[in-house]
Symmetry: C2
Subunit: 377 residues, 2 copies
């Protein structure tokens, strides 16, 4: 899409320039384009807000930066060249975060919807769509007896999956973060594209990926970000999530799909809130999961022994992987280091993963690409 936009922008500029030679007074204004990704991977953002006193660009992974207004009331900013990736962003106009009205690509979120820009990169990047076979995303809806609401989950089936024939596949349960919905890992995290590519390269074993709604207490998200700081509400959210996953989602998946229904073929991983959920659900149910991954986890209570009462070095016989990752510039690196120290103090084998990066999808896409390659081997 962005290359089409770029082409049209150049075309419109060309036509407008040509027109201005002939009849400068009546030439229509150039159609505004945003975002515009340049060949050097810098990006120009534009937003018309003639009366705003100040507009900031809030770009994922960096602090908000002031934009500049021209005499047409258009605020703009051109970044330095950016690393190839997908970036969430918003325009913060007089303190209010807004999407880019010129860009149809959205980063859905229950608290604050943003726009998204794709800075394209080489085909070798795992989130770039390549000319390979693509899996299918299945969106399921059901009434939860545990939570009492109507809710949903997504199931990725790999290329070649055939509901009428062998083989059966292992399953990764992949959990989103606080304020995301069940579409987060595909709409933003590009999990289906990443797994498509890595399967095509022979780096990931063909598997199903199940992405459920991650709230056991959905009211936690209705009041904004404050809900997650309420210890009792957060714990209820965790507990009921685990219950809904084990008693509702997994049975539906194992009944509807050709999967291998045992612990060696079940993995659980997630980001931020979903990282904590993966640890709580996985490490407290080793009868169900042999592979556990945590990406920038957030929300565990500080008393780890109370949260994992029966976890000890005996787990080493059962865990095929315990992978605890966090970006070094993430505000959650401290709690994650403490958790890993606690694991070490208990003699529980695990992979300590520290990567560059803050609390962002740029970290989590790479986490998924790396963690998924370890699974089911």
């Amino acid at each position: 899409m962005s290359s089409i936009f770029r082409f049209l922008f150049v075309l419109v500029l060309a036509i407008t320039s040509l027109g201005s030679l002939v009849q400068p007074q009546t030439a229509p204004p150039a159609r505004l384009v945003s975002p515009e990704v340049h060949p050097d991977q810098s990006v120009t953002f534009r937003f018309r807000a003639p009366n705003a006193q100040g507009v900031l660009l809030g770009l994922e992974g960096t602090k908000p930066v002031p934009m500049e207004k021209d005499d047409q009331g258009v605020w703009s900013l051109t970044t330095a060249p950016l690393e190839s990736d997908y970036y969430g962003y918003s325009f913060i106009a007089d303190g209010v975060g807004l999407i880019d009205p010129l860009n149809p690509l959205l980063k859905p979120n229950l608290i604050s919807t943003q726009s998204m820009v794709h800075v394209p990169g080489p085909a070798s990047l795992p989130w770039e769509v390549n000319d390979v076979s693509h899996g299918v995303l299945h969106h399921h809806f059901y009434k939860s007896g545990v939570v009492g609401d109507e809710r949903d989950f997504y199931v990725y089936t790999p290329p070649g999956y055939n509901p009428r024939a062998k083989p059966r596949y292992p399953v990764l349960y992949l959990l989103h973060g606080f304020s995301d919905d069940a579409s987060g890992w595909t709409a933003v995290g590009r999990a289906n594209v990443i797994i498509d590519n890595l399967i095509a390269q022979g780096k990931v074993k063909p598997m199903l990926v199940v992405m459920p709604l991650g709230y056991g207490a959905p009211e936690i998200v209705a009041g904004g970000f404050g809900g997650f700081r309420d210890d009792a509400l957060r714990q209820r959210n965790f507990d009921r999530f685990t219950q809904a996953l084990l008693s509702e989602v997994i049975p539906q998946v194992e009944s509807a799909y050709r999967v291998i229904a045992n612990r060696n073929s079940r993995a659980i991983a997630g980001l931020s809130m979903g990282g904590a959920e993966s640890l709580l659900t996985g490490l407290n149910h080793l009868d169900q999961f042999a592979w556990v991954g945590s990406f920038s986890s957030g929300g565990l209570q500080p008393d780890f022994s109370a949260q994992f009462p029966s976890l000890d070095a005996g787990a080493n016989q059962r865990l095929r992987a315990l992978w605890v990752a966090c970006g070094v510039d993430d505000g959650l690196i401290g709690p994650n280091r403490k958790f890993r120290e606690w694991l070490k103090s208990k003699g529980i084998d695990h992979a300590d993963i520290e990567t560059p990066g803050v609390h962002s999808w740029m970290v989590w896409r790479r986490n998924l690409a790396n963690f998924s390659q370890l699974l089911f081997r």
Copy 2:
């Protein structure tokens, strides 16, 4: 969701009022809520834009209306009681259409994303989620040889659909309008909820519904609404759409799903641009489709005999339904009446459907609920 928001809003108001008795200077401002649906079905919209000179509410089905600003810089408007439905809306601030930053419910669109508000109604309304079995939405991705891009389509399978067992099902191909994407009929049109409910009530025969991307020439949408007024581009868009549907989408569906692969079990219908596509594809390929529906169609060339060169009264033996609907207050009612007159002049049987309404999803949800009940009987 809206009842949770309403509850939290009342709670926040209550806490804020209580707090103000004790320490009026330091009480935080009430958390802003938008939209707020009242018990009488009126809706209050709120938008903080302290420096905007004017903000209009653009609510689906009506002309934009000015909002009023309070001394906190919050623009608001309370509507008259609204009929139960889903409404798209945007805030037009100093001429720029913006989504509601307080509302996660979006109306996705390739040209102009909007927000959406649900005014709940009785369970008997076909688009309300009921405690019935729900079908599954399958999202497919493929590289199109006809168009040359990576594209997608959605497949709804009804409750009880089992890929490993009989029966086989008929298929409705359901097409979106100009500026929508392939998610339009589910994210906005609620097609899966409507068909779930009508199947549960025994009013609709269990069927698959396939919702492909409706652009044969995707560049038609990259330049805004003007692309659709370019006759040559629009015709190329129509022609390649038909080709991609017949040679790429239908074969994939009939290979992957348990469907009945003959004309009596294939229907095609769509809205606006998709209505024209349904007529062009369906009526020019009666060997493929026996059921054709057009909802508020737009974009046919005025010379109908040139667009449907081999269509005559002989079609009456083959067409099980030809349903041509439009809202009486839709700007497209004129061309639709002309098309129906032409059908009549050719002796081609069809249902003339004129409903209340403008060019909006309120009309098309009802069109789908009514048309789907006729099919495959």
